[in-house]
Amino acid sequence: MNDFIAAALMQAEPASIIAIFVGSIIGIIFGAIQA
């Protein structure tokens, strides 16, 4: 349980949240752009 809380805290960092947003946008664009 402690490990899970530690993991959740790692994900709550702004850097991780920004990384997910940026990664998702890049992923969607490059997934689509190959057409």
Binding site: D3, F4, A6, A7, A8, M10, Q11, E13, A15, S16, I17, I18, A19, I20, F21, V22, G23, S24, I25, I26, G27, I28, I29, F30, G31, A32, I33, Q34, A35
Partner: protein
């Protein structure tokens, strides 16, 4: 291409970015598959049939909504399977010795056959190139120089990021710029559309189909060398077989099930492919091979040891996977207009921006121009491979799995005092060797069958009288 962006950020944030790009890429390919009938990725090819048919019927919003919902369902389903399966496999793998690990990595290398894009010989050539690049530098065990030709900068070897950026980003950039120069870039008409999420009844009625096709995707994803396109077509075929009456007639004409089935399956592949990646350090498909490279770059070595040494990181991967799925779903549901605008930017402009990012990112690894030159040289070499139709993914597989393969092979040899028979003492290793032979044999058979069919097709074409 996202790899250079992950330099300088924490390993956790880097993993988040790589995972979300992977998940975003899977659904992004379906955006164009639905809107213009051209799949962005091979995984979205099966979605074109009914997704684009719905658009022609004036149901573009619903088509996109179905894609988004099925994709999220497939991803979350495979995540749940992944959470249980990864732990189970990793616990079993803790007891593996060098012989088992060697056979396991060798099995992962047999993935090359599945990634050869039609020619196993070309795939093997590419895999060997990857292994050769990885051996450049000083040997860790005996300190012997390999392929350095007495040149000091090569003593440190070729950095994995440099090689990956060179092999994936640069050839693609050159190709786009060459296509632009030759006026070969196709322009697509993208109209604005508003996403219309499916009704709860649609989800309820198709819950069984979504679950079934997600199982198909997860299982296929976990088998090395398969991946999204196979899962999507198998799921589409199954959905068509299961459909009855009027629903069956709708297939190919804009069927709801025809969109849901391939989308749930090709997204479920993501969780399936991560099972062998996290638990054994073996990638399930081409994209996870790149993710494996990214993890290694950030000092994270997937495998059974990760579960005992850094459990919070494993959990954070699960959480990142879930959050990324939700974010991708929301972005596509509410930001489709933004993406359509972005897709209207000429690709040559995007490519110039990416090139700048690659150069800065590569330089930042060790503050070394040598790495930038290496990236450009490997990139030019990658472009030649592209022209020769030799796939780049097996090269990366050689690069990421080569060191482990060599380490386990040599450890086993040292422990057995150079007795080769040690590799046949473990039942698991022998089973894996048999599986490799079966797997390669099946690929060769499928290749031969495909070539035979193509030859017969060519013969049946009417000849033009001179």
């Amino acid at each position: 291409m996202v790899l250079p962006l992950t330099f300088g950020i924490s390993p956790n944030a880097a993993i988040c970015m790589l995972l979300s790009t992977y998940i975003g890429g899977l659904t992004g390919g379906s955006l164009t598959a639905c809107l213009i009938g051209i799949p962005g990725t091979p995984s979205a090819a099966a979605t074109v049939v009914d997704g684009y048919a719905m658009v022609r019927k004036g149901q573009a919003g619903l088509s996109l909504g179905l894609v988004i919902m099925a994709s999220a369902f497939g991803s979350i389903f495979s995540l749940l399977v992944m959470v249980f399966a990864v732990d189970f496999v990793a616990k079993a793998a803790v007891h593996f010795g060098p012989v088992e690990l060697f056979s396991l990595v060798l099995f992962g290398m047999s993935l090359i056959c599945g990634l050869s894009e039609g020619s196993i010989v070309k795939g093997l050539i590419a895999g060997t190139i990857g292994l050769m690049i990885m051996t450049i530098g000083v040997d860790d065990i005996e300190g012997v120089q390999r392929l350095t030709f007495g040149w000091t900068p090569l003593l440190q070897g070729v950095n994995l990021v440099v090689a990956m950026v060179g092999l994936f980003a640069v050839p693609h950039l050159i190709k786009t710029l060459v296509d632009f120069r030759l006026n070969k870039i196709q322009k697509h008409q993208l109209n604005d559309v508003k996403t219309q999420m499916p009704k709860f009844k649609t989800v309820k009625d198709n819950f069984g189909l979504l679950s079934y096709t997600s199982v198909i995707g997860t299982v296929i994803g976990a088998i090395p060398g398969t991946g999204g396109p196979i899962a999507a077509f198998v799921a589409y075929d199954q959905a068509k077989r299961l459909a009855k009456g009027k629903a069956k007639e709708q297939f190919g004409k804009g069927s709801v099930q025809g969109v849901l089935a391939p989308e749930a399956a090709n997204n479920a592949v993501s969780g399936g492919a991560i099972i062998p990646l996290l638990s054994l350090g073996i990638p399930g498909d081409a994209a996870t091979a790149v993710i494996l490279g990214g993890l290694l770059i950030h000092g994270v070595t997937p495998g059974p040891a990760l579960f005992t040494e850094n459990k919070p990181l494993v959990y954070s991967i699960y959480i990142a996977f879930f959050v990324a799925t939700v974010v991708v779903m929301l972005l596509q549901a509410y930001g489709v207009k933004f993406f359509i605008k972005l897709l209207k930017i000429p690709p040559q402009f995007l490519m110039v921006g990416i090139m700048i990012m690659c150069v800065i990112g590569t330089y930042a690894i060790r503050n070394s121009f040598f790495d930038v030159y290496t990236m450009i040289i490997i990139g030019l070499f990658g472009y030649l491979l592209l022209l020769a139709k030799i796939p780049a993914t097996p090269v990366v597989l050689g690069l990421v799995l080569g060191p482990t393969l060599e380490k386990e092979f040599r450890t086993a040899m040292i422990l057995s005092e150079n007795d080769y028979s040690v590799f046949f003492t473990s039942p698991l290793a022998v089973t894996l060797y048999i599986l490799i032979v079966v797997f390669v044999g099946m690929q060769l058979y499928a290749d031969r069958k495909l070539k035979k069919a193509a030859l017969e097709d060519a013969k049946s074409l009417p000849t033009v009288a001179s």
